[in-house]
């Protein structure tokens, strides 16, 4: 029975994804018979199966929805917005019952009688318009009044579509063109060849596909990874043996392993539609909240990506899309005034190019006002006016990705927004991707993301330093140069640089960053020119070894927080080597302090010559707590969140809050610093979310004041636990909080 329920859950979740996008599609194109049949079938199948599984509550809801839909299907009822909203709410209700079923094995006790009543009421063709509003609160679906221009904001964010997705790809709509995708996950029944019927032994349908558990695929992938490593070892060993048959066997092994790895990779890919199919709903709900009309179109939804990559781009893509709806597309009135179609359009496009996947989010809105971006960036001290004057439009637009750029917005609308576009950029760069914006004033904005196909196996170059070997991902590597008398290290404002083709390139010595002391430096060293995002810097190492394809092994939990390393791998000779995280390494070596924008090498040399590259900047989040001004380094802040005071609960004598599906402990910063608590006046509490590894803790503060970027010198201010010292920021004394120590003192059970 259990197996049956599991099958039912997986199948229903798959169908529900199609159900949502089907409904949104139907809103645009109400006459599509095929779409209405497909969504009808979803409810019909769920209802039909419920009878066998004894799920009477679910059956009742599906039944009411099915009845309403059958009237639409027969053409008795026109497909109206109230109906669409009620049916979307039905999908949500079904989902929450399913997830309850998944968790507890029971249907749960949530009350959906109002939803059912709405579904029944809508079956009467003359249902008055205003009845569209009362979609039940339990169904968590926004129910804006259809005609009212100022749509009431529902209490819940529209991200309801993120209900526990099944671990497998949704099956393609049967009507869609057969996708060449993921044979193990997408059910594309193979057309059996015309064999003679004498070949029919047992009655087993000749099905070209099987369903495979994703865990198993992951484990297989891991094994293939091990095989690749062993192959590398054997190939290396075989190089030392003079034997023709051995060489031939090695060659074959090499070939087969590569092919196996390649095919294995293919079993893990999913069409990007697995992610995109959730977006029509997100866009619809958000657009209606903003009082906008937006049509979402997709191109290249069949483009395939490794599922881990799809998982990794989910948040940044959602953020970008919401941004397009919120800020990109103008209101219908503005669009009319500009002579455009009042209905805006957002296009999602994906395609493969040069071994990467490119994803574009294009809106036909008013574009980004470059002058405003420039002014704001200067106001916020992100760039100097002189620099701004020299920057191209393209570079100026991309200033929006700077940390601290979108803070005004973040502070006024903290919840669900995080710190801004820089988070998106960081998330994408973390998986070796790139993101950039381009805009055409009055016409469109395009956000382009480029990401690798997979994260599991990457090409690297092995470098040596003080007898140790490290792997550098090829995506970060620009060139390798021998440091000799033609190229020497100079110092400009205490920063070591080299002159490379007339430009100054800041450099870092790997041994000093990592504090490697054993052995001695080679007499002749090498310079590896690296790129992290759009910053360039040079890394000085002793030796350059071979280029290899390596299998990334994640670091253990204890080492996870080391920002300099992205993982480990086993080399051909069996030695373990750490993979350098170029971004983390650069940060550690203070390469990215100060403005981080599209510094070209020319920019570097100009600024080095002009005002001194040695000026250090720190980014600090300044806030008030217990009536005092305090600050934390911005890189200690993973998010800013606002909660209702009533959301705070107590568990084991500690304040906690439900956050992102788990329970996050809260620390009252005022208490921790021995100050008095200032009760919140408006019933809202502000928190700084601090994350280490997989643990998060919320620090309660009074309110965010600003983000500053200045060369701050910390002055010791008596010994107080959790305080680094104080500094003068914006002419005011500000306490600098040592988050690391603070959480260890006050939430020691979480971080030790």
């Amino acid at each position: 029975m259990n197996e049956l329920i599991n099958e039912f859950l997986v199948e229903s979740y798959e169908n529900l994804d199609q159900y949502d996008s089907g409904l949104v599609e139907l809103e645009k194109n109400p006459s599509s018979k095929e779409t209405v049949s497909s969504i009808f079938r979803t409810l019909h199948t769920i209802k039909g199966t419920c009878g066998f599984l004894g799920l009477s509550r679910l059956e009742a809801i599906a039944h009411a929805g099915e009845n309403l839909l059958s009237l639409v299907r027969e053409g008795t009822l026109p497909f109206t917005r109230p109906i669409a909203t009620a049916l979307l709410a039905t999908g949500d209700a079904v989902r929450s019952i399913l997830s309850e079923l998944e968790k507890t094995g029971e249907e749960g006790t949530a009350d959906y009688s109002e939803l059912v009543a709405t579904l029944i009421r809508l079956q009467k063709p003359e249902a008055p318009e205003e009845e569209s509003a009362p979609a039940p609160a339990t169904a968590a679906a926004p129910a804006p009044k259809a005609a009212a221009p100022a749509a009431a904001k529902p209490a819940t964010p529209p991200a309801v579509a993120t209900v526990a997705a099944p671990a497998v790809a949704p099956a393609p709509t049967p009507a869609a063109a057969p996708k060449p995708a993921a044979p193990a996950e997408v059910k594309t029944p193979a057309k059996p060849k015309a064999e003679g019927s004498e070949h029919a032994p047992a009655a087993k349908v000749t099905d070209g596909t099987v369903r495979v558990n994703v865990d198993l695929l992951d484990r297989l992938m891991n094994l293939v990874g091990e095989l690749v490593l062993t192959r590398n070892q054997i190939v290396q060993l075989a190089g030392t043996i003079e034997s023709a048959p051995m060489q031939a066997a090695c060659h074959r092994l090499n070939h087969i392993t590569t092919e196996l790895q390649d095919r294995m990779m293919k079993t893990r890919v999913q069409p990007i539609d697995a992610l995109w199919s959730k977006f029509p709903r997100t866009v619809r709900d958000l657009a209606r909240m903003c009082g906008k009309e937006i049509r979402l179109e997709t191109e290249g939804a069949e483009t395939e990506l490794d599922r881990t990559v799809i998982e990794a781009i989910k948040d940044p893509m959602t953020h970008l899309l919401r941004n397009s709806v919120d800020h990109g597309v103008e209101s219908p009135d503005d669009r009319r005034a500009a002579g455009k179609n009042p209905e805006g359009r957002i296009l999602l496009r994906a395609f493969h190019a040069a071994g990467l996947v490119t994803i574009e989010i294009v809106d036909d809105g008013g574009g980004i006002k470059v002058e405003r971006v420039k002014t704001r960036a200067i106001e916020r001290n992100l760039i100097t006016a002189e620099r701004a004057a020299q920057m191209s439009t393209q570079d100026l637009v991309n200033l929006i990705f700077l940390p601290g750029f979108s803070t005004a917005e973040a502070v006024s609308n903290i919840s669900g927004r995080g710190v801004g576009m820089d988070v998106v950029k960081t998330q994408i760069e973390k998986i070796g991707g790139m993101v950039d914006m381009s805009t055409e004033v009055g016409k469109s904005t395009t956000c382009r993301i480029k990401i690798p196909l997979t994260l599991a196996i990457i090409p690297v170059v092995i470098v040596g330093c003080r007898g140790e070997r490290f792997a550098i991902p090829q995506t970060n590597l620009l060139e390798v140069i021998r440091l000799d008398k033609n190229l020497t290290v100079e110092t400009v404002h205490e920063t070591p640089v080299v002159r490379l083709r007339g430009n100054l390139l800041p450099i870092v010595f790997l041994d000093s960053v990592l504090n490697l002391k054993s052995g001695s430096r080679h007499e002749i060293q090498h310079l590896v020119v690296l790129q992290a995002g759009d910053r360039h810097f040079g890394l000085v190492v002793d030796t350059i070894h071979e280029a290899e394809e390596i299998v990334v092994k994640p670091l253990g939990r204890a080492l996870m927080s080391l920002s300099c390393f992205a993982g480990a791998t086993i080399l051909g000779d069996g030695h373990v080597s750490l993979i350098l995280d170029i971004y983390g390494l650069g940060t550690r070596a203070s390469m990215f302090q100060g403005t981080r924008s599209s510094h070209t090498l020319e920019d570097e040399s100009k600024s080095a010559a002009g005002k001194g590259a040695g000026t250090t900047f720190d980014e600090l989040l300044v806030f008030s707590v217990g009536g005092t001004r305090a600050a934390v380094p911005l890189d200690m802040v993973s998010r800013l969140e606002e909660f209702g005071a009533e959301q705070i609960e107590y568990s084991a004598g500690r304040q906690v809050i439900q956050y992102g599906g788990s329970i996050m402990p809260l620390i009252s910063l005022a208490h921790a610093l021995g100050m008095r608590d200032t009760p919140s006046s408006d019933g809202r509490v502000q928190t700084i979310v601090y994350t280490e590894g997989s643990r998060s803790v919320g620090l309660l503060i009074d309110g965010v004041e600003e983000i500053v970027r200045s060369s701050v010198e910390v002055q010791p201010s008596g010994r107080r636990s959790g305080v680094m010292g104080s500094a003068v920021i914006g002419k005011q004394i500000t306490e600098l909080i040592d988050t690391h120590e603070l959480v260890r003192t006050h939430a020691s059970e979480l971080f030790h």
């Binding site: 197996e3 049956l4 099958e7 039912f8 199948e11 049949s37 497909s38 009808f40 079938r41 019909h44 199948t45 209802k47 039909g48 199966t49 009878g51 066998f52 099915e66 009845n67 059958s70 709509t173 049967p174 009507a175 059910k187 029944p189 057309k191 059996p192 015309a194 064999e195 019927s197 070949h199 029919a200 047992a202 009655a203 087993k204 349908v205 000749t206």
Partner: protein, 122 residues
């Protein structure tokens, strides 16, 4: 004896297959009418087809019509599996060549009853 289970829901196919297997059948399955016709082309006629009504690509009624056009199909019995809301369609299916119908949700006993009417179970 062999039974072909035609339903677009995997869960439904598992449920029906289980019951039919207990009655001594080997089973095959298909996701819609078109796949069912392919199955027959490859494996020959089964003794019994349990066929859902509402399916993508080719629905139950279209399948019955197409299957009854095939030469040599006479010995194959077709049982339509429907829900109450589709009851009115049952007549059309029976006229087109279905032998029996079964209403969801059904029990093992109700299938058995219908099958003994068809002479496939004691």
């Amino acid at each position: 004896m062999r039974a072909l289970i035609v339903d677009d829901s995997r869960t439904m196919r598992i449920i029906i297959s289980k019951i039919v297997k207990e009655l001594g059948f080997e089973t095959g399955d298909a996701g819609h009418g078109g796949e069912a016709l392919d199955w027959i082309a490859n494996n020959g006629f089964p003794e019994l087809v349990c066929c859902d009504w509402n399916m993508p690509e080719m629905n139950g009624l279209e399948f019955v019509k197409a299957a009854r056009e095939l030469p040599g199909n006479e010995a194959m019995q077709i049982m339509m599996i429907t829900t109450e809301s589709e009851a009115e369609n049952v007549m059309a299916a029976l006229e087109s060549g279905a032998n029996e119908y079964l209403m969801k949700p059904f029990t093992k006993e109700s299938i058995q009853d219908k099958m003994s009417i068809l002479g496939l179970a004691p």
